[in-house]
Symmetry: C2
């Protein structure tokens, strides 16, 4: 097998998303740490791997990719027979899975990522949290999670009875938000709360978190 | 073949995106007009098809979907052998195509859609355009299109030498922006300009525009 390289930062949600899919597929990979504090992601050689200057970037032999959700989709299709089966060969199940990949990307991610920024990243850098932005995005995320609650009352995972890539894509933001006041949004919805407990307990996810030595030691 | 139904509005960019893929695949479908001025998209029976109250929604027999990009991906996979080949069977080409689906969704769409809102939709409803929002989003879109220009100087379409779903997803916002001052962002970049001329001239796209009787008669 060609060498797989994931370039990124273990604290970045997008890097964590890509790493989670590699661990679920039980793939060996080399992690290349990008020092974002020193702006390595905005300079060569990284900028040739990701022209938008954002982590992660990915290599599998001579294939070079960026965008975490494109990386995970490549991994689950290319290595369909390894590790956890994160996609489906059945057309209608796959359609539902793709719908949920879009729900995460188009509805869940924006308010969730803004809350991670306000409640987790800003305090780490000594910046003041904007209460109005928190309130607005908790409102938006709550509305989205109402739909998740309805869905998860009918199936164990978002796209059916099996854990798939559509669940996996939520893990990094959920991980951070469960350390903030916004955890109430997940815990107050019983089926969402059970889903969060289930997906965050996965062995592959613990391997992603083990890549964060500084945060783990806090 | 089961009846395919697309529920939406022919002026909505997301509806146009789904319709474009149906026309490229030469599929017969029933178009169900949703009267958004009267809020039909926020009420039953539509809200059962799309819980977020946004057009379009889609049915293929007993399969029900929403999210335009999930609908198009279902169509191109389910009907791979019909009409234009919009995906690839080759793993690395498909990886590049998925990367470009993410570039459109994560980088291009937000500034492009905000410009459509400010320069096209607001004037139609007699609302004032916000010059600061236009300037900010033209700046963001220009930066994104610099990367497109570099890519399109090396290949005819974004993901290679063939027109794919990754090109198609851009069509609705490009169509509207080419009627506004923001057309300069596309035309000032020669390879982007040639790409826009090429993809907007497709027969399938003219069929999408023919669904807009009121706008066509203006």
């Amino acid at each position: 097998m060609a060498t797989i390289r994931l370039h990124g930062n273990p604290f970045s949600t997008a890097t964590m998303r890509a790493a989670a899919s590699l661990h679920e597929k039980q793939l060996e990979f080399e992690f290349v740490l990008i020092d974002m504090k020193n702006g390595e992601h905005k300079k060569e050689p990284f900028i040739s791997l990701n022209p938008f200057g954002q982590v992660p970037a990915f290599e599998d032999g001579d294939l070079k990719l960026f965008e975490s959700r494109a990386i995970t989709q490549y991994i689950v299709h290319e290595y369909a027979d390894k590790g956890t089966q994160l996609i489906s060969k059945e057309s209608k199940k796959m359609a539902k899975l793709r719908l949920w990949l879009e729900v995460e990307s188009q509805h869940y991610d924006q308010p969730a990522s803004k809350l991670v920024w306000e409640l987790m990243v800003k305090p780490m850098y000594g910046l003041p949290t904007d209460p109005a932005a928190v309130e607005e995005n908790e409102g938006k995320l709550g509305t989205v999670l109402d739909f998740y609650e309805k869905t998860l009352s009918q199936s164990k995972y978002v796209a059916g009875e099996c854990f798939t890539l559509a669940d996996l894509h939520h893990l990094p933001t959920i991980h951070y938000l469960m350390k903030t006041q916004s955890k109430k949004l997940f815990e107050s919805r019983p089926h969402v709360g059970a889903w969060v407990a289930d997906i965050t307990a996965r062995t592959a996810w613990s391997k992603v978190l083990a890549m964060q030595p500084l945060l783990s030691s806090k």
